[in-house]
């Protein structure tokens, strides 16, 4: 403690900078070049592994799609918000040809991601070529705190290419609105 007081007698810029360094630098054990070098060397190898694992993931996705959802039967349903509307989406339920295929209850982070413009893939499955029905139901809370819900059916036609359906939800004014894109 006395040493600190003693050190205070040396009022020079160099000393001041040295104090700053001791105040805000990383812990002494990490200041060692060896540890830093080793961590950075490992970091580069971790990046290489990430690259390889991502490449495996992409190829696995393609394999899964070919095997489980071939294009002539594939249908995928995406959910987005119509605009950056200040309403809280609680849950969405999807039925195709009367069969419930997806139901999702939204966490805060998921809702925030939708509000920022993200699009959620809620369902990927298979249907035969031809005409089908999709029923979308959702529940939420308006900015004023009132509960509201909505449900609507749409027809869509499945052809040879994969069918991508975008369900766009709105409800800022307390009135549920559902629109289907790609139908």
């Amino acid at each position: 403690m006395a040493a600190i007081v003693g050190a205070s007698r040396r009022a020079r810029t160099g000393a001041a900078l040295a104090t700053l360094v001791s105040l805000f630098a990383a812990p002494a054990v990490l200041a060692g070049d060896d540890a830093k070098r080793e961590m950075r060397g490992l970091d580069e190898q971790v990046q290489e592994v990430k690259s390889e694992v991502l490449s495996i993931a992409t190829e696995l996705d393609r394999l899964e799609e070919r095997l489980l959802y071939p294009s002539n039967t594939q249908v995928a349903v995406f959910v987005s918000l119509a605009s950056r509307e200040p309403f809280r989406l609680d849950s969405v339920q999807i039925q195709i040809d009367g069969e419930p295929v997806a139901r999702h209850v939204y966490s805060f982070k998921e809702l925030e991601a939708l509000q920022k413009g993200g699009v959620q893939r809620i369902y990927t499955g298979n249907v035969a070529t031809g005409e089908h029905q999709i029923e979308v139901s959702f529940a939420g809370v308006t900015a004023s705190g009132a509960d509201f819900s909505g449900s609507q059916s749409f027809g869509f036609s499945k052809g040879a290419p994969p069918k991508l359906l975008e369900v766009s939800l709105g409800g800022a004014s307390g009135e549920a609105s559902i629109q289907l894109g790609g139908g």
């Binding site: 205070s8 001041a16 105040l23 812990p27 540890a35 990046q47 592994v49 993200g118």
Partner: protein
Amino acid sequence: MPTVLATRAALAAAALLYAGAARAGDSHDLYFGEALYHAYQEHWFEALERLDSEVAQHFRVDEPGLDSLAPFIATAEFDVGDFELRYRMHQRAGRAITAVLEADVPDPVRNDAAFRLARLDFQKGQPQDALDALARIHGEVPEAIRDDVEFLRANAQLALGRPEQAVALLEQLRGSETLGPFSAYNLGIALLQEERTEDALRQLDRAGQVEALDEPARAIRDKSNLVLGTLLFEASHFGPAQQSLDRVRLDGPFSNQALLRAGWADAAAQNFARAVVPWSLLAKRDATDAAVQEALLALPYAYSHLDVHGRAALLYGDAVATLGTQLQRVDASIASVRKGAFLEALVREEIRQDEEWVIRLRSLPDAPETFYLATLMASHDFQTALQNYLDLEDMRRRLGRWLASLDAFEDAIRLRRAHYAPLLPEIDAEFRRLDARMRLRLEQRERLRERLNDLLTTPRPEHLATTDEQELGAWIESAEERLGEASDPQNETLRRRVARLRGLLSFALETNYQERLTQAHAHLAALEGDVARLQARHEAFVRTRQAATHSYVGYDETIAGLRSRASAALERLSSLMTRQGEVLERVAIAELESRRERIATSLSQARFAFADSYDRAAKAQAH
């Protein structure tokens, strides 16, 4: 400073990502939107996986210009680099950003890329490369990053030991709305480096009183006051040092350091009664903090100078007890880390739900090894190493799941083969028969169409004769042949009658020709409809038939390749994880041992001072 830069960098990157979202939302490129959905939740692996695939797909299609991603491909490629950066893949991120930089893109996009590349270089500790990247900026700069560009340029100059250039740049940022408190602080540091001490002190004084609208700004203002207070203290200006340190918030991240130094400023001015105030406050705080531990000794030291030896002895006694407990905790922490508990605590899922996980890790009740690692965890290299360890663990789990999925895929393929293989030869044979019949009919339809088209230019009424008329025509021809050229009267009568019949037939064919032609075209049109339906059924069958084959044929090589790659990655990853874990443990233990040494020294001082104070108190009582 690295903290400030990291915060600013994160803010700038976030702003760019959100701008990208708006554009993607308008584009209705669903897969791009899906990638952003993951990115907004900071699921960088999923975001990268999705967007990588989408961008690769875009370049694989025959006409990329017609792809829904086409209008936004530059943004998407940019975001790939951004996501890679967030997923700490700096090497790939650098390559992705450089690619955008070298492409034919508008000025704002290129300048944004140059800024990101510069930021990446700076984070990697390459300030000259950062300046080189910034030198590529010209033309229109997006307003959102305009100040950040100059701030980064100043910091790079500072890192290269050119404070005079940094000072000039930072002075221009005085009025910056977003960077004001940060540039004010960095300007003070730059002036110090330039050895303009008086200017530096004045600048830090200004930085310590700027308006701060959010927590990062308030924290940097606290830091300015702490640094200023420390400098003034070092220069023996205890009064002004005290004023500066008093401005540090009591609930901010620099509060403990400020309280400690405020006490020392008072003590150095021989004002021990005042020193007792901040030290008393500090001594009640979390005893794992080094400043608090120092206050445990500083407080009785002040009392002893005030000749309150009894109180000093009691407080030294408390310090001995507290430091003794802390020493035991550090020992327990070291033992715990050596047993592997630190790494086990790291990979516990429940603690990693948000970005504050490192902070909460320190307060885990059953992970004593983390109590003393606060300073360590605040360092950039250690945090990167921690995150890498967690990323490796995450990838290890994924690869394990994928290998299990490959087994399931093979099982599904085996079942499909067992189902389809016996059925398909018979179905194919039947299909070939039907296909041959269909082709025959299609050829007939083609011939009919050609003949009808010919009739439009060369009318041939006999071609539209009914069956009865054709039979009648054939009979007339036969009768005419039989009657021959003989000229007897009976034959002549018959010839006239046959000629009348031919005339009647020709009349009927000629007069009905237009109507029959119209009808024939109507029938052909109806036939076209039937043929279209037949062809649609045929195509659907062919697709289904192909799908049946594709459901189990042609996967073996892909699956074997993926299994081999996943196994190799898993092996490499496990080895890396072990090495990464060892480094983390070694560094953690070294930090803990360093803390242990300091606590042991303090404990020894406390014991000595306790005895000394006890003696003085006893003597005072005796008098």
